[in-house]
Symmetry: C2
Subunit: 332 residues, 2 copies
């Protein structure tokens, strides 16, 4: 049985769920794949976080250095979020010969080309199924589809927080601020909700999806972005009266050899599946030249789905290495 050493960057709710997933599923995975997963390090500012996740004290580190120097670490799982130091840590991990698996849409979307190039130069895996749609198998699907298809359009609901708020406004008649407070109470929205409600989170995710479809890095500052803070109850009730809904739609369209990306609240008619995506669920439509229009739907966030995608990526990293890297055509 091969042992795969994992280092976890960030031991918050997602990082802790990775430890839990390895504990719960380790035996089954070992039996099926012949691979034992061992979480050797948990990087966190506070050692209590690492201990609370069930890791031993010797696994705790506040520095990336012992991880990069540990020859028994073959996969670095980045679950810290935010652009920095995550992007630098991922790059350094690849340079140190580690596979990297990440759930971090911000760092990935901003540094996509550089991280992919570094992974390719070092012949290492860079996998990010968890970065968009959590456990919805979007990256696996895109990889399969893009082998033969050209994707002409991507369109979807990729932010669960705003979809929850819009659903509460439509179905419960709540005002925006009451719906936001309800989302915060349920843990769907952060105390500072800016990244979600202003559309940044959706723009990061759209950037990643569009970069894969285009075969070239399209950074998130290329997204024409508008959030939901100015959506009024009147607009929402009017949409409902017309049999549809107001949704925060992320859309990337191939046009004249380039791509147009936007995130904005728009009216979606009832004949469109996306109008029926409720609460904090996600749905992404891919319009392809050969297979037509495909929709993937499911929970786009949450510690358990995100951790499941991260651990699946760890196994794919070990099994397939750099073979799953996207093939980029160069800068956009």
């Amino acid at each position: 049985m091969e042992t795969v050493g994992i280092a976890l960057l960030g031991v918050g709710t997602v990082g802790s769920a990775v430890v839990e997933t390895v504990l719960r599923k380790g035996a089954e995975i070992g039996q099926r794949e012949g691979i034992t997963l061992e979480v050797r390090w948990g990087l966190a500012r506070r050692v209590e976080r690492v201990l609370a996740a069930g890791l031993p004290e010797r696994a705790a580190t506040t520095s990336i250095e012992p991880i990069l120097e540990d020859p028994l670490v073959s996969v670095v799982v980045e679950a810290m979020g935010g652009e920095e130091p995550a992007a630098t840590y991922m790059k350094r991990a690849l340079e140190a010969g580690k596979h990297v698996v990440t759930a971090n849409k911000e760092a990935l979307s901003k540094h996509f080309a550089e991280l992919v190039a570094t992974a390719r130069a070092r012949n290492r895996a860079l996998l990010f199924e968890a970065s968009v749609g959590a456990g919805i198998p979007l990256m696996a699907s895109l990889r399969q589809i893009l082998t033969v298809n050209r994707i002409e359009r991507i369109r979807g609901i990729v932010n669960g927080t705003t979809n929850f708020i819009l659903t509460m406004m439509a179905e419960e008649g709540m005002a925006y601020h009451d719906a936001l407070r309800e989302a915060q109470r349920l843990g769907y929205a952060e105390p500072d909700p800016t990244a979600d409600v202003e559309g940044y989170d959706a723009a990061y995710k759209l950037s990643i999806l569009a970069s894969l479809a285009a075969g070239t890095h399209i950074p998130p500052d290329r997204v024409d972005r508008r959030g939901i803070t100015s959506v009024t109850p009147d607009q929402i009730l009017d949409a409902r009266a017309r049999g549809g809904a107001v949704k925060l739609i992320a859309e990337a369209v191939a046009r004249n050899g380039g791509w147009e990306l936007r995130v904005q609240p728009v009216f979606v008619p009832g004949s469109d599946l996306l109008a029926h995506v409720r609460r904090n669920l996600n749905a992404i439509e891919l319009t392809c030249d050969r297979v037509g229009s495909i929709v993937l739907y499911g929970p786009g966030a949450g510690p358990a789905p995100t951790a499941a995608a991260l651990v699946a990526d760890v196994l794919d990293a070990v099994r397939f290495g750099a073979a799953l890297l996207p093939k980029l055509k160069g800068a956009s």
Copy 2:
């Protein structure tokens, strides 16, 4: 540039679409993957079929033997349909050291364990993305999900023909036989519609999905099957009046350590996404222990989507070989 020799078993609408896909997409695939695809053989009863698909006369064969003996054939693409001789040909191709890619749900569902075991023994790929849901990336998604998740339930609309007939009955008020004739006119139903309308096609597909989820072969005769021929206009209009729809639902549920499989027309309430799947579209819901409920939706048939999935599988066969084989626990 590596050249990959392909032999095509069956040159009907799907087989011809494979040739067309290779022609249209070959240059792009070559540039990206460094692989040239060459269709070296077309097996058909009539040589005119092979010529009409655009293959040269020397590619035409009525016998499997020259294909098995050709050392330049590395992938056999089975697009003939039906149980035999397809199942025997696939087994013989694997034994001759060829990778096998198939769209054939009947042969695969009936001989799943034997074909997977043969592929494993010969260290060859056996891929079947096209066998269920055509170009919907179901197998890619299942592989990703099953790495970490246990699937507890599969539930979906997997037969486009019957869904089209039920949609016509509900939306146009057609009687069953008129809707069937309309489906036949559009090429959605065969002159002999038995396999579709009696639920056999759905049972084959459910058997494949459930076998993957269970990790063991569950043959189609284990499916409790009922078709749509006895669905009345009254039942359909009543469902519509209640805000839902009658759908032919294929369902596999894990229960007491075993699996229960059924295909039957049932009432689906309007709150369920499956009620909104219209015409000849497919949708499959996977209920998973870690990521929750995922739905994949799209066109589940048609030559172009089916051929796209077959050609993508050819490339995966060459790139990953037996590494993508499902891991079975033995007979059910």
